[in-house]
Amino acid sequence: MDIYVQLLVNSLQIGAVYVLFSLGLTLIFGVMRIVNFAHGEFFALAALLVAVAVPWLIDFGAPLPVAYGLAFLGALAGVLVLGKILYEFAFRRFQRDMIGSFVLSVGLALLLQGLYIEIFSSASRKLPTLIEGTLRILGGAITTQRLVLCVIALLVAAGMYWAIASTRLGKALRAVSEDHEAAMLQGIPYRRIALSGFLIGTLLAAVAGALLAPVVVIGPVIGSSYLIKGFIAVVIGGLGSIPGAIIGSILIAVIESVGGYYFDPSLATIAMFVMVMVVLLVRPAGIMGNG
């Protein structure tokens, strides 16, 4: 019994971050028809900025929570600036161009990783624990810090889900995702909505990276493994589908934690790829995909 609870708790905390990550990926795909293979680098930059800023702020005498809070906001701002620059000079020119955007985003991912190694050095960084303590729930254990992180991630994801379902911008994003020409014919300014969708997606990756910063070891190439998992999640769920991204992320998280426990992590990774193959064979557009 205890072990099942523990596996559930583990799945939840991994899944919460994947949900944020893949929501951004699927949103960007929806509005621009681009699979952003550089999405992991937004995530990585946020984590790196937090990792650099927190010790720096502590040196200035800021208390730990304040240092984290400021670093978190600074990281989001920094990633948004990068996102806006990349959108204007790169992604905007390759929207609705599958091959062009693939080459572009893979190239950008490599370029950014190289830049991060130059700027931040290839050293691994570990930040001081923000919230001490461990909670026991029904025989499963989770550090308080991870629980808080997980709850925040789920709240952000839920807020995002609500916003896309109910707000004016959310409806415009969905309309553009389904048929951008028909959306323009209703007066929706496609360019502005595409930029908004791209920046929201970028911001979600940044939130995921900044949230995860206190609990993982941060290096300059941390983004690629999240990109692969996030990509698998959206492919399984259906590219462009919001519920699909959530379902896909949860599936990936369960496979990773359960498979990693009963077998070993590399088998869990193989299982994910097998699952992608099975889903693509049975439902080529993904579980929630249409068309």
Partner: protein, 239 residues
Amino acid sequence: MTERLALEVTGLAVSYGIVPAVIDVSFAIEHGSITTIVGSNGAGKSTIMKALTGLVRPAGGRIRMFGEDIAGAEPDELVVRGVSLVPEGRRLFTTMSVAENLEIGAYRRSDVNAVARDFERVLEYFPALRGRLQVLAGSLSGGQQQMLAVARALMAAPRLLLLDEPTIGLGPAIVDTIAEIIQTIARSGVDMLLVEQNAEMALEISAQAFILERGRIIMQGRSSTLARSEEVRRAYLGV
């Protein structure tokens, strides 16, 4: 309104790559009338509609709407200027509800009261939609989807409404309903351009007509006159 013409197209030319789709097309729509362009499949009807809504850039010619040149205007800007298109194949947001489709139709309008009034008005035009507001647009029947497409375009409060084959694939009863609504909308002061393969219906409800063949206008005149013309009857009315 001082401008007599709602729409004036002069020498319009559109090409896809090197393939010309529309060649030197000129026509005008007067205020307070239904104008129709009749043509068979591939004659260039939808291309004209795309040029009028900014979805394709003409290779030549001039389009003036309400007296203003629309060269280079984005589709969403044109909606604000008062042009709405009911596109071929309806192009509804099938994963969104009927109510959401109507809301999106009024995306650029800020007068909440006027939008609410128009919401009621389009439901009066199409009572079949009233009970289905929360249903996904994709699960409506073909006829209801077409009604929703017209209703969505009306939610933008257009001065000029463009309809691209609104009756294609629909049963005779629904064609009649749509034709009636088109006339009602025209009487409410919206100028209309109706593009149709269904020449019989189009010529019956319109005041003037243009016959399009392989990208060129080959005949034009009063709809009632054209409906009696031997050539039109043979080619488009199947008699």
